[in-house]
């Protein structure tokens, strides 16, 4: 069901943990849906120098968090904001259609963390316009026929 890369990131997730003095913290998801993702960033000179995550969720949610943290590490904040869940899924060598939303969660966790960073530092990012970190949107929309 899952690719080898997904299984690798599920089994040996990169960047699990917390950053106690994080510059940005974001959490998305809802325990009701069975998934919560929390991300911590350390940001220096607009560069994400360290990332950690914690996830309550399925295999694909854990693998997506792991991959997404790898992908944003060393990037500028703007570059991180451009990361889409499709890119995460692609790097994971694909996800089953019913599991695409788990990667969306990763994209949103990143946005949510940067939203926190922007708020704390009074910064403005065009990509975050209309972004609501507490939105109870139905990312969990499995494809129903």
């Amino acid at each position: 069901m899952y690719s080898e890369i997904v299984m690798d990131h599920f089994t040996n997730p990169r960047n699990v943990g917390e950053i106690s003095d994080a510059d940005a913290v974001g959490q998305v998801g809802n325990p009701k849906c069975g998934d919560i993702m929390k991300m911590y960033f350390k940001i220096q000179d607009n560069i994400i120098v360290d990332v950690k995550f914690k996830t309550f969720g399925c295999g694909s949610a854990i693998a997506s968090s792991s991959m997404a943290t790898e992908m944003v590490k060393g990037k500028t904040v703007e570059e991180a904001l451009e990361l889409s869940n499709y890119e995460v899924a692609k790097e994971l060598d694909g996800l089953p259609p019913a599991k695409m939303h788990c990667s969306l969660l990763a994209e949103q966790a990143i946005k949510s963390a940067i939203f926190d960073y922007a708020k704390k530092n009074n910064l403005y990012y065009k990509e975050l316009e209309g972004f609501d970190p507490d939105a109870e949107e139905d990312h969990h929309s499995h494809d129903e026929e």
Binding site: M7, T11, V16, G34, H140
Partner: protein
């Protein structure tokens, strides 16, 4: 080590069952409805299987009707009687923890103008017979309540339910797909009108089941057509499947006591081991009134699919009531009916035992499971909150 602990999902076919089936796939192929000698052997084989199953239920052979599985039996029992009795009334009573084959059928009937009462269960998964009584109405035509639950193994007070149904002259159907092969079901003592059973839950083949219909019960057909199954269920018979079902039933009930004792012992050993080794664990279902092969626990702070994947990687096959395993939005309706929070329902693990399991296998599970739970908890933001005292 490979350990299969998903026997409630499906069982392997026993070698004796497989051997009984093969001649009917390979050598005898005539249509049992035919007049010539090719058909005769097959007709006899179906009669034998019908006898074998009738005996396990202390029923008459002519009360056993073969179907394409447990789901078809459930659909038939419910739609067939609802339709036959629609001029008498349109009210049906069931429970909130039925298998989807019953639940979705009832929901479908609601769209057709029937009214359905879904009885709640207590936190151990058992209905209240008082509550059942209080919902009986003039126009109640059917009570359908499962014998034992497939997720949490809870056994309902079937004898009392049947007595109430009989007293009020309401038809009573029970989905015994999980109970059959684990519990004695005696239709002489139990005034039940219909019973659904399925072969692949007791070491028989997949895709064959049966509906017991007590003589005299009014029921319409679900599958119309040829005169098979005394004109009640059309379609050329799945002879090999039926033969395998008969054999599996005979074997299961021939050694029921040993089988149940073996399972109960392993189950208790497994459950107690888990409870000792893993904190923040909840047993789902009733401690005593449960199937001898069912363990269902929720581990706080973690999610089912990731647990199943981790277990699979060390060779352990299990299942979970988490939505993320099923591709649907909500976690198990059964666990939610017990009053579990969504998180706890998501963190459930079902381990169901079978004939082939050994104590060594259980030891292996008790060795592998705790670090898996711990690893996932260490990754979980919910567990973090706990540690920070945010609870």
């Amino acid at each position: 080590m490979k350990v299969y602990l998903d026997y409630s999902a499906t069982t392997p076919v026993k070698p004796e069952v497989f051997n009984a089936m093969t001649p009917y796939l390979r050598d005898y192929y005539g249509n049992p409805s035919s007049l010539h000698s090719y058909g005769r052997e097959n007709k006899k084989a179906i009669d034998t299987a019908r006898d074998q199953i009738a005996q396990t239920l202390k029923a008459k052979p002519e009360e056993i009707f073969f179907t394409g599985g447990g789901s078809e039996a459930d659909n038939w029992a419910i739609k067939g009687t609802a339709e036959a009795l629609k001029n008498k009334g349109r009210h049906i009573i069931t429970t909130s923890i039925e298998h989807h084959a019953v639940l979705h059928t009832c929901q479908h009937l609601e769209k057709q103008g029937y009214e359905v009462t879904y009885l709640p269960v207590n936190e151990e998964g058992i209905i209240s017979v008082e509550e059942l009584k209080s919902h009986l109405r003039e126009d109640t035509i059917l009570i359908t309540i499962m014998y034992a639950n497939n997720e949490i193994g809870t056994i309902q007070p079937i004898q009392e339910i049947a007595a109430i149904a009989k007293e009020h002259k309401v038809l009573f159907h029970t989905d015994a797909v999980q109970a059959y092969g684990h519990l004695e079901i005696n239709t002489q003592d139990l005034p039940v009108d219909m019973i659904s059973i399925s072969a692949h839950k007791l070491y028989g083949p997949k895709g064959v089941g049966a509906l017991y219909i007590r003589k005299g019960t009014r029921i319409h057909n679900l599958i119309h057509g040829g005169a098979q199954e005394r004109k009640k269920r059309a379609g050329t018979e799945n002879i090999a499947g039926i033969v395998g079902f008969g054999k599996a039933a005979e074997l299961a009930y021939g050694q029921l006591t040993e089988h149940v004792n073996h399972l109960t012992e392993l189950r208790d050993y497994l459950l107690e081991g888990i409870q000792q080794k893993i904190p923040y664990t909840r047993l789902n279902g009733h401690r005593q009134k449960r199937l001898p092969n069912n363990v269902n626990v929720s581990f706080e702070f973690i999610e089912g699919e990731s647990m199943l994947l981790s277990l699979d990687m060390v060779g352990i096959a299990a299942s979970s009531g988490s939505a993320c395993t099923s591709g649907s939005l909500d976690p198990s309706h059964v666990l939610l009916s017990l009053g579990l929070s969504h998180e706890m329902a998501h963190g459930s693990l079902r381990l169901t035992l079978g004939d082939q399991n050994t104590k060594e296998e259980i030891d292996y599970v008790l060795e592998q499971l705790p670090p898996i739970v711990q690893r996932l908890r260490d990754m979980s933001p919910l567990y973090e909150n706990l540690k920070e005292g945010a609870r």
